[in-house]
Amino acid sequence: MGGPTRARDTKAGTRAFIGGEQRGEGINDMTIRLAGEAGQGVESGGAGFASALSHGGLWLHTHTDYMSRIRGGLNFFQMRVSDRPLWAHTEGVHILLAFSPEAVTDYGPHLVEGGALLYDDSLKVDQAAVTRRKVQLYAVPLTKIAQEIGGEKIMANTCGLGALAGIIEYPFEFVADVIKKNFARKGDAVVGGNLKVAEAGYKVGRDQYAAKFDWKVSPLKDRPDRMQINGNQAIAVGAIAAGCRFMSGYPMTPASSILEFMAGHAKKYDIVVKQTEDEIAAICFAIGAGNAGARAMTATSGGGFSLMVEALGLAGMAEVPVVIVEAQRPGPSTGMPTKTEQGDLLFALFASQGEFPRIVLAPGTQEDCFHTTVRAFNLAEKWQCPVIVMTDFYLTTMTRLIPPAEFPIDRVTIDRGELLTAQQLDRLAEPYLRYKDTPSGISPRAMPGHAKAVHQTCSDEHDEYGHFEDEDRANRLKMAGKRWRKFQHIVDDLRGPTIYGPEGAGLTLMGWGSSYGAMREAVDILNARGTKTNLLHFVDIWPFPEAQAAPLIEAARQLVAVEGNQSGQFAHLVRAVTGRRADRMVLRWDGRPLSPEYIIEQLEEAKVHA
């Protein structure tokens, strides 16, 4: 808990002022949510529908919410669709396709006025809760249609998706294409059955409800291929692009899928990927590989990162390059394993005893995840130190549609820093000094194995050769000085915050990591409403890019820290470094992601006006 700021209880906004207010019409900007038990096909159905929309040239933002259990419970898959690029989800839902009564009870309140609840007419749902809020009820005999037309109850999902398409009047052909593709390996009969069921659903939706439902989605003319990718996938793709040759990890939500993606691509992209006995071993494997000359990484969440802390310091002292992804989830301790939070920032900054150079980066988007991961490997090798990439549950599982050009996989820079080649080593005239004291603090590195560069790597304070020297004061000052100089110079390679919105705004939102999208859309809305607002978003956090950041922070008229935690950790850091206190904080720590509505609502409640 950083700093003395008081926390306030908050409630999420439910108004959908983005779809309405900002665009002024009900076409091509709406939010659809599928919800039901784990195992009911919420995620696969949602993904299929998302494909159908994506193939129509539309832009998407999807995110999921699931429980820490494998079957049952209540999960949702939400997609926001629009004809322009999207940066965030909205709190308000326009149409909810509910597969279970709980889905209605829990998520009904998220429906906007005039929105619709679509469900199987055999489900007993608490209608009152929804209708009271002027929500329409579309009870469709999904299961009955599935059984009668497709011959299988299980096709009720398909029927629901068909009805959905009908209601929003999205051309059926796109749905049909996805059905054909997704069911292809189950044979023609299955494809045919599902197609018929979907079509029947579509008809009911279009014929009975389309006229009453205000929001529509139409395909665009221009339909380029776009990548639908989440943060973890973007990190893995970045790692592969950067030439990562080694990954070790131990499963932990929400980081596991990086390890799994890398394992699945290991053979093809020539990467050794290993699950270890615990997170201590995971980072130790990576340090061993990194020191041996292979670009190496590990990924975990806060609990696993806690176990890595001792070895993190080893990498700092021994000057071993290693990339650590820290995918945050709400703590403390086990906390809320499948929810989101930005609560580990100060922990990551100061973890492990003593003082040593480390780099902390927090990408805000999928594109950032890719580029930041590539940079992380370069920075780790250049500065020979651990690099921590911080994400969170929301960013790791949230997807957006992104033009492939944003992922220039084959055009990344691979900078191995001062890594001596075998040829350079062959020519070495003097004895090789692993920890040579240089002006930059960087000591040229040799991979172990060369006859001219037999050397020692050491966790104890050491001399330039790497031999133990834990007594001599002068040597200590030399080596600590060398490490400190690295820390001072690293910042020259780091970037100041992204600025978005008009200059000289009366209100400046300041955030880091996954909140970029929510802040950006909040800025758009506020400016549209006449409140001149901009934002400062930080990816490069530590060493703090003071030279670039301080003037911008200084210039902010009203500075609002926006963070997914309870105490304002980044605000703490900013004040410690620059002295500037955030005038206000918009914080969220209920396990849910920051959204444009949440930010604006909090500002309104606090009566913040520019």
Binding site: F246, A266, Y269, C284, G293, A318, A453
Partner: protein, 290 residues
């Protein structure tokens, strides 16, 4: 054979006079010299403890890591560059105590790594607390009434856990120890050499004399077959009047961990030239997300 001086480091040894670690250092050098392994072809890993200073006293690649973690760090290096001979040096506290989970995990993997454990049955560097291998009843600063855990049996645990080479040496017999280390290096797979190492300061029970009276060599024992796992496990329990040294167990033909990692078939990943993916590779990767 190389000159053993090849491995001399400029660093002054800081062990107490008479410490059993000297014998181990000599045996290690002698084994490498006889095997003609050059300093740059081998990499040592150690943790923290008196014994873990050994690599600092060698002219060879080395990584002195943190207390208890040399095995997983060595694993990472071996998987990145299996051209290196990898030798881990651990104390008994370091390797079997705080590092216990890595010990039982490496047994299941069978990497081509040699693990030499300096087993003085006490914590030396931190000034004489009891260790996992201390005998039941061992009186030390943290166990003034004697320890109440039973002693950890590294040899039995190694055999039980899947090790393919398990030996015990005595630092009072460095020639014999050097032979064991040579055999361990030549073994393809994980090889444990647990060494009875007198700590002349903090262990007044397991002294040179204690061992000299008790040790006997398995290779001189008629009928002992190191290929018999059950027999080896039982033999690993022999302690007291007589203490066996030599190779207790060796399994042949078990594939190493590295051999089973398909990415390593074309050579160490650390030696790959790094370059951006080709356009076609990039496209293939991107297409997965269309």
């Amino acid at each position: 054979m190389l000159d053993v001086k090849t491995y001399n480091s400029p660093i002054k040894v800081t062990w107490c006079p008479g410490c059993g670690d000297y014998g181990i250092l000599n045996a290690v050098k002698s084994a490498l010299a006889q095997l003609e392994i050059h300093p740059h072809e081998v990499m040592f890993f150690s943790g923290i403890g008196c014994g873990s200073k050994l690599p600092d006293y060698m002219n060879a690649n080395a990584f002195t890591t943190i207390h208890g973690r040399s095995l997983p760090i060595a694993m990472g290096t071996k998987l990145a560059n299996h051209d290196l001979h990898v030798i881990c040096i651990t104390g008994d506290g370091d390797g079997y105590g705080i590092g216990g989970n890595h010990f039982i995990s490496i047994l299941r993997r069978n990497p081509d790594i040699v693990h030499i454990a300096e087993n003085n049955m006490v914590y030396g560097l931190t000034k004489g607390q009891y260790a996992p291998t201390s005998e039941h009843g061992f009186v030390a600063s943290t166990t003034p009434e004697g320890s109440i855990e039973i002693a950890f049996n590294p040899l039995a645990t190694a055999i039980n856990g899947g090790a393919t080479f398990v030996a015990r040496g005595f630092s009072g017999d460095p020639k014999h120890l050097a032979k064991l280390i040579m055999a361990a290096v030549q073994h393809r797979g994980y090889a444990l050499v647990d060494v009875l190492q007198p700590c002349v300061i903090y262990n007044k029970i397991n002294t040179y004399d204690y061992y000299r009276e008790r040790v006997y060599k398995l290779e001189e024992t008629a009928g002992y077959d190191p290929a018999d796992r059950d027999a080896a496990w039982r033999k690993a329990h022999e302690w007291g009047e007589k203490i066996p040294i030599g190779i207790l167990y060796q399994a042949a033909g078990v594939p190493t961990y590295e051999e089973q990692v398909s990415e390593l078939r074309v050579g160490p990943v650390a030696k790959r030239q790094l370059a951006p993916l080709t356009g076609a590779q990039a496209d293939a990767l991107r297409r997965q997300f269309f």
